[in-house]
Symmetry: C2
């Protein structure tokens, strides 16, 4: 267990979150850190800071449509925008926390598989059906996972995680915290890595 | 005259714009490009995309207060927040375009001197008095520059530049365009440099 600990906050509907999910474990390995994956829901934050889904914003939306695929190509990652976007990521996040309570490595696998389904294959991950299908492909039990998505304890866990992210001040996806130091965006992953390596500046 | 041409859009009230202004000419030299400096006014854009000055935004504001000085330290640049922030950058932008029509190298010097006064020394650059003082320190004529700040032709030039930036889709500061390819933010200057070097990807 490393004493270097990165909190990785992301929303399953965030394309930049997908890119970060593909890159963060490599970064962590290079600096000898461990990553805690923390899906949350951006919707509530967007209301609080008075913004809206990225692609809907004038000028910023068209820029994102250029920048996200460009970042993906830069890193050699597949990328497509899902047909329906933005989308609800509640079921995906609940599935993550249910698995995470049993097996955190499996939960990371599930997160990456969900993200790839959405942003590499362009398929929906909003419906419980889609989320369960991805889980089953990783060996999870279909009936148990289906039940978990409506389990009050799982719902409550996600609510608490969303509130915890809000208290930390997480306002975007991806968002990283290392030893109290916040880094927002795929762009800032290079700073995060240097910060850990150099011990700050 | 290089055939590699970077348009550098910035608002004189933007702290990230200040950092970019300190870094862009070094970048351009490394890749053999020339930079056209294009001050504009973010206010109108903020209304259009429904946002507000950075530091006033819940959560995003506190993050910026951490990130901007951290970026400055990373690059070895002085940085302070001016006492009055945000501030109007109309006079600074007008002065820039008046000088630029005569001497583009001098206009860049003026831009850097104005930015340093605001974000390295923390002094105001909103009043005509302050802007003229900076100009005079660079050898500009006090009476001519004072008159230029109210010259209808100079006012009109700035209006046209703001409109041109809007048409290009510039929604933040700094914002760069190279051969039609947009790059937003200090964070993205590393991508801009790689893009020019590699000829895209």
């Amino acid at each position: 267990m490393s004493d270097k600990q990165i909190d990785f906050y992301f929303d399953f509907s965030s394309p930049y979150g997908y890119l970060a999910a593909e890159l963060i474990e490599g970064l962590a390995e290079r600096v000898g850190a461990e990553v805690t994956w923390r899906p949350f829901l951006l919707g509530a934050v967007f209301k609080e800071i008075g913004t809206q889904p990225l692609l809907d914003i004038p000028m910023k939306g068209p820029y994102a449509k250029c920048d996200i695929p460009r970042e993906a190509r830069y890193h050699g990652l597949a990328f497509v925008f899902p047909q329906s976007f933005p989308f609800s990521s509640v079921a995906a996040a609940r599935a993550f926390f249910w698995v995470s309570a049993q097996d955190s490595a499996k939960a990371k696998q599930l997160a990456q598989a969900l993200y790839r389904r959405a942003f590499a294959q362009g398929q929906e991950i909003t419906s419980p059906h889609a989320v369960v299908e991805v889980g089953v492909s990783l060996g999870l039990d279909e009936a148990e996972l289906t039940a978990a998505l409506q389990d009050p304890a799982v719902k409550d866990r996600l609510r608490k995680e969303v509130e915890a992210a809000r208290e930390v001040g997480v306002f975007g996806s991806p968002y990283f915290v290392y030893a109290g130091e916040p880094f927002w965006g795929v762009d800032h992953m290079v700073r995060l890595e240097e910060w850990i390596t150099r011990g700050g500046w």
